[in-house]
Amino acid sequence: MSREELEKKAITSLLSIASAWYDQMKAGEIPSISLPSRTKYNIEYDDASEVWKYGDKESLRNAASAKSATHLLKMAYVIGFIKQQLRENRSSTLREMYYISEGWKRAKFAAQDESNYLIEDLEILSDVPREGFHLHPEENGASIYGPMRIREETRRGMKTIHCQDDVGQAGYTIPNSVENIEFVDHDAKFVIAIETGGMYDRLIENGFDEEHNAILVHLKGQPARSTRRMLNRMSMTWDLPILVFTDGDPWSYRIYGSVAYGAIKSAHMSELLATPKAQFLGLRPSDIRDYNLPSDKLTDKDVEALRSELTDPRFATDYWKKEINLQLEMNLKSEQQAFAARGLDFVTKTYLPARLAEMGILKR
């Protein structure tokens, strides 16, 4: 969907909510609205899109108590605010909207959480991501380095950028709103999304992107919304394999999970934010064993997290069961930079080529 289409859809959906309330009140009825129930008991795997989505359970909110009437009032104010913002082609952060609500009297937000939650409600109701409302997150997206060209609509006009030739050493930074990006062309065979900056730098320094025609994405830990959207679009638009390369511990597997399957909090956006085709490259527990990597003992929290992953439906594959059980058995974890113990070139010359061949991405 293009940016214009998205904005149009946003304004149409939001106005239809307001119109429905108008009609309800005109008919002498208390205004109300239905929302899917947002608990983990209402998350389902959608076979068609291969992502996790909210199920059928709905809850009705009507204005019959002061609390929920106030909630609807706030929703009305937010809809009004977004309408104005889209009309003026302005944008703002959630934090700014929170402060703007200072002037909304009874509709003022009591806390930032409340405004965040309300925006999620509107995303669900309208099926439009918040970027379509011109509400952008505070956190930056991550960096990209590799043979691809995009066209970005910025406040200073349209910019065409090649992510190797036109950028500094730090790469191209993903903007808050990936919807403003047009994917022009690429010369890549695959994308590696990397957890740590150290490994991202290592691959750039060793020329891995040039040698293997790889696009490198730095996830910066748990990836931001715009980073996940970027990966989703790279996968959808160019059908490139997305490979996730993280540390070898349970928290990193969760990073992979949020790239591939999405998070409960944003299950309504899974189709936009999750990349079901993303594959886990490493660092696998079996790599710790096979490459005899420097490692640390698992902490109690690590073990707890691994056990919880064993019962997580998203990790309910033979692959993950085998690896996680192996890790529990070894009682070890490693960081991806631990490959440096085998030399600075080991990861690019030995590990990744072998691993990518094994995954069928590179020919042996």
Partner: protein, 609 residues
């Protein structure tokens, strides 16, 4: 190695023998004051008053009089305090007075199986002993047993070597009490625990609503008034229950009996009928016709085992126990704590290890109770408040184990908020965790009863709280419908760019009441009455505020002023489904009241709040 020669060792055994002697119980307690609650001067005052008051209340109960107890504590020296406790009980006959106050382990209640406050026959004489050890002063006792008798005054100490009373002086005197006892004890102490002492008296008054306490504390005087004019029934002693005795006790009973086994069982024990007695004999393999005195130790053991195996009904309790009763607990609590809600439960009596007991509990909510922090816990055993070791007590444990959240109270271990919880355990044998009698031990049977009582009360409290919440809810709904929905309407109409929707039909549909709305904007006060109630009679609107409403349209029917506050009254009838309105210049605020229509048919909403 310096071994002594044999003959010397022999002499030694003789020598040692000569040093052996009996130790008087008074000597023993002199060395072990902590056993009696006299381990610190601070605690001595509370212990003494507690013992004297317990005795007075027990005596009044036995004599069936309404207790009228006077307590005085006066500082008489740098660290000397004089304590006086005076009652209107039956008095003590002169020849007994020296023993009651001047001999440890002397009393009337030790062997009886019934609920009493004091029991051991140590308490008050321990105070006498403590006084004589620390101040050297004798204890002064005045007692009178009736109008025809003279009062007697004693100065008493204890002969420590022998634990016998030492009467320094005895005389017949005139006394204005017709009957009663007064004891005056003076010892070294401090008043560091004054707060605790007042709490003790307050709590004692709560569970003894038939008693009046007058207190003089140095220069202050308080009275805890009685709220019940009924004397409480004095518990009557019962026979031991077959499930509650040990071998030693059985042996003593056997030795003292000349009965046949079956009669011994029926007459010597509670709740044992012929049939039950026969079952016990059969199980023990003994003939019912055997003379009990002839039983061997082994036969006695077999009998004991049989007695404890056979199921026997719980001991009779109405007789030997004296619960306070739900009504009196409520009255007692209400007197000392003013609360919005209070309810009490007296559980059916029950039994543990053969000892009958009954649990009473009460819950209070709101009113003057502090809104924050843990609930106030009042613990009682046999009508005596437990002042120390709350954390170690089974009562506290039970309160903690109840899930108060399901009764709409917040809870962190103890329930929180403006809550008071009272638990009273009455028994012929209250199981304490230690000699200081500050905490009740964990006995499953007792704990079960406490929890049941608390849960029952919790459900009642929940009903109260949700009724209260429901009326809050109705107000809340009115606010939503009358104040917020119009704002939604305004905003939504603006968004969809259509004319403003009128939301009064929603009000009418929902409220089915007469709705009075007052709002102030830009120096104009608007009062609007919308009648969805169906009632069409005359009503009056009272508007009390600092505005004089001189320019009101329509004019008020009546205006009066007091201290700068104007009361404006409009009278009108409003046809069903129609609206009446008045507007005037002013700042708003104040109170609005609608009269002439049932409370449940009207609703006032102040839109400025």
């Amino acid at each position: 190695m310096p071994r002594l020669p044999g003959w010397l060792r022999l002499v030694l055994a003789d020598d040692l023998a000569k040093q052996q002697r009996s130790i008087s119980v008074a000597e023993f307690f002199e060395k072990n004051k902590h056993l009696l609650g006299f381990d610190s001067p601070t605690r001595g005052v509370i212990t003494t008053i507690k013992e004297a008051v317990d005795n007075s209340l027990d005596a009044c109960e036995e004599a069936q009089v309404l207790p009228d107890i006077f307590i005085s504590i006066k500082k008489t020296g740098s660290d000397l305090f004089r304590i006086i406790v005076e009652d209107n009980g039956p008095g003590i006959v002169p020849k007994q007075v020296p023993f009651v106050f001047g001999k440890l382990l002397y009393g009337s209640r030790f062997h009886q199986i019934r609920q009493t406050r004091g029991q051991q026959g140590i308490g008050i004489s321990a105070a006498v002993l403590y006084a004589q050890l620390t101040s050297g002063l004798p204890t002064i006792v005045i007692s009178r047993t009736g109008a025809k008798e003279q009062a007697h005054r004693f100065e008493i100490q204890i002969k420590i070597e022998t634990n016998e009373p030492d009467v320094l002086k005895e005389e017949a005197i005139d006394w204005d009490r017709i009957h009663g006892t007064r004891v005056q004890i003076e010892f070294k102490s401090t008043m560091a625990a004054k707060k605790k002492l007042l709490e003790y008296l307050k709590y004692t008054s709560v569970v003894n609503p038939h008693a009046r306490f007058r207190v003089e504390l140095d220069d202050e005087a308080f009275t805890f008034e009685r709220v019940s004019q009924e004397v409480i029934q004095c518990p009557v002693a019962i026979q031991p229950h077959p499930h509650g005795i040990e071998l030693g006790q059985l042996k003593r009973m056997v030795a003292a009996s000349d009965q046949k086994l079956i009669d011994f069982l029926v007459e010597g024990f509670s709740r044992v009928g012929k049939k039950t007695a026969q079952e016990m004999c059969d199980r023990a393999g003994l003939k019912g016709t055997l003379k009990v005195q002839g039983l061997s130790v082994d036969q006695q053991k077999a009998l004991l085992a049989a007695m404890q195996e056979v199921s026997v009904p719980a001991p009779p309790t109405t007789q030997c126990l004296s619960p306070i009763g739900e009504e009196l607990i409520r009255r007692g609590l209400d007197k000392e704590f003013q609360m919005d809600f209070v309810s009490a439960r007296t559980r059916p009596s029950s039994v543990f290890s053969g000892h009958p007991f009954v649990v009473e509990a009460a819950i209070g909510y709101g009113g003057k109770l502090p809104a924050e922090g843990n609930a106030i816990i009042l613990r009682f055993a046999n009508r005596v408040p437990l002042m120390y070791q709350q954390g170690a007590c089974a009562i506290t444990e039970c309160i903690t184990n109840v899930n108060w959240k399901s009764y709409n109270l917040s809870q962190q271990g103890l329930p929180m908020g403006p809550v008071l919880i009272l638990v009273h355990v009455a028994s012929t044998n209250v199981p304490f965790t230690s000699e200081s009698k500050d905490a009740i031990a964990s006995i499953p049977e007792i704990e079960k009863e406490i929890v049941l009582a608390l849960q029952d009360l919790g459900r009642e409290l929940k009903t109260f709280l949700s009724r209260r919440d429901r009326s809050k809810l109705a107000e809340d709904r009115a606010r939503a419908v009358c104040a917020i929905i119009p704002e939604i309407s305004a905003k939504v109409s603006e968004i969809v760019e259509k004319p403003l929707v009128d939301t009064t039909p929603i009000e009418g549909k929902l409220m089915r009441k007469l709705i009075a709305k007052k709002s102030t904007r830009d120096g104009k006060v608007v009062i609007e009455l919308a009648n969805y109630s169906g009632f069409e009679g005359e009503i009056s609107a009272y508007d009390i505020s600092a505005d004089d409403a001189a320019d009101a349209v329509p004019k008020a029917d009546f205006v009066s002023e007091m201290d700068g506050q104007f009361t404006k009254v409009w009278k009108m009838t409003i046809p069903s489904k129609s609206t009446w309105q008045v507007t005037y210049s002013g700042k708003g605020g104040g109170i609005i009241e609608i009269r002439g229509i049932d409370d449940n048919k009207k609703m006032v909403v102040d839109l400025d709040v």
